[in-house]
Symmetry: C2
Subunit: 135 residues, 2 copies
DNA sequence: CTGCATCCATAACGATACTG
DNA sequence: CAGTATCGTTATGGATGCAG
């Protein structure tokens, strides 16, 4: 579906896809969306999310949630209780995005072995270029 | 498809999806794959690609291509001529990944307007927090 | 034309401490 | 428990120059 000019793809100036990938550059955004999508009842608290997304820091989780909220992909519901309680859930728009993300993750699951080999190749390669020519 | 433990998703330790997203953290990798996927004949030269991926620098294009080659997602064919000629194309594995990427980009196209509003909201928000309380 | 190496700015990230 | 702020490290990306 790109625009073709002179037989070349002039596709990604400030197009939808490009902006979408900008969003993905926030490392954890797709995982948060994906986790919320799979969450029972579709609502999750920050603490729960952090425990699920192994390795994410509190800072990054909150930052990602804020980012997604501003962009209208997730909804933030505050309960006026002590201690504080907040629940996040996908907006209708967020839910439409969850589909493609699911597809992508599905690919990741199906090609787990290939992905392992990729990491392996990459490791070998960087090692080689690192040690190779010192003397 | 996550693994559920204690009702929480312990999904993304060093799973396929996580590794996949690592690959995507190379900003241009999905666009390069996508461009090659749409390219006539499925083979493209670096120069052509750079002209198509508006805004990519030579350095990043080459780096991305190398990365994708090492990972076995694209193939590099060298022609022994002067001046040098090289063509890149998707490997079979790369082609299977192109599908999900296409889906994602499709979403980006369909929700272009929403994505515009997202950027807008983000702009407003960061402006507000930047200027808001200085006086 | 393809590819590599430097230098440099800045953006992303994590650890930690602190507030309500 | 939710959220913010600060600091320091590392990764990312762009500009430029050079080589085959």
């Amino acid at each position: 579906m790109p625009d073709w000019v002179d037989g070349k793809v002039y596709f990604y100036a400030d197009s939808g896809p490009r902006r979408l990938m900008d969003l993905f550059s926030v490392k954890w955004s797709s995982m948060v969306l994906h986790a919320l999508w799979h969450w029972p009842e579709g609502r999750a608290r920050p603490g729960e999310l952090q425990r699920s997304l192994q390795g994410i820091s509190k800072k990054m989780l909150l930052q990602t949630l804020k980012e997604l909220e501003i962009r209208g992909l997730i909804h933030r519901q505050v309960f006026q209780v002590i201690p504080p309680k907040v629940e996040y859930s996908l907006t209708p728009l967020g839910k439409t995005l969850a589909g493609p993300i699911e597809q992508l993750y599905q690919w990741g699951l199906e090609h787990r072995q290939a992905l392992d080999e990729m990491s392996e190749n990459r490791r070998k390669h960087t090692e080689a270029s690192a040690s190779g020519d010192l003397r």
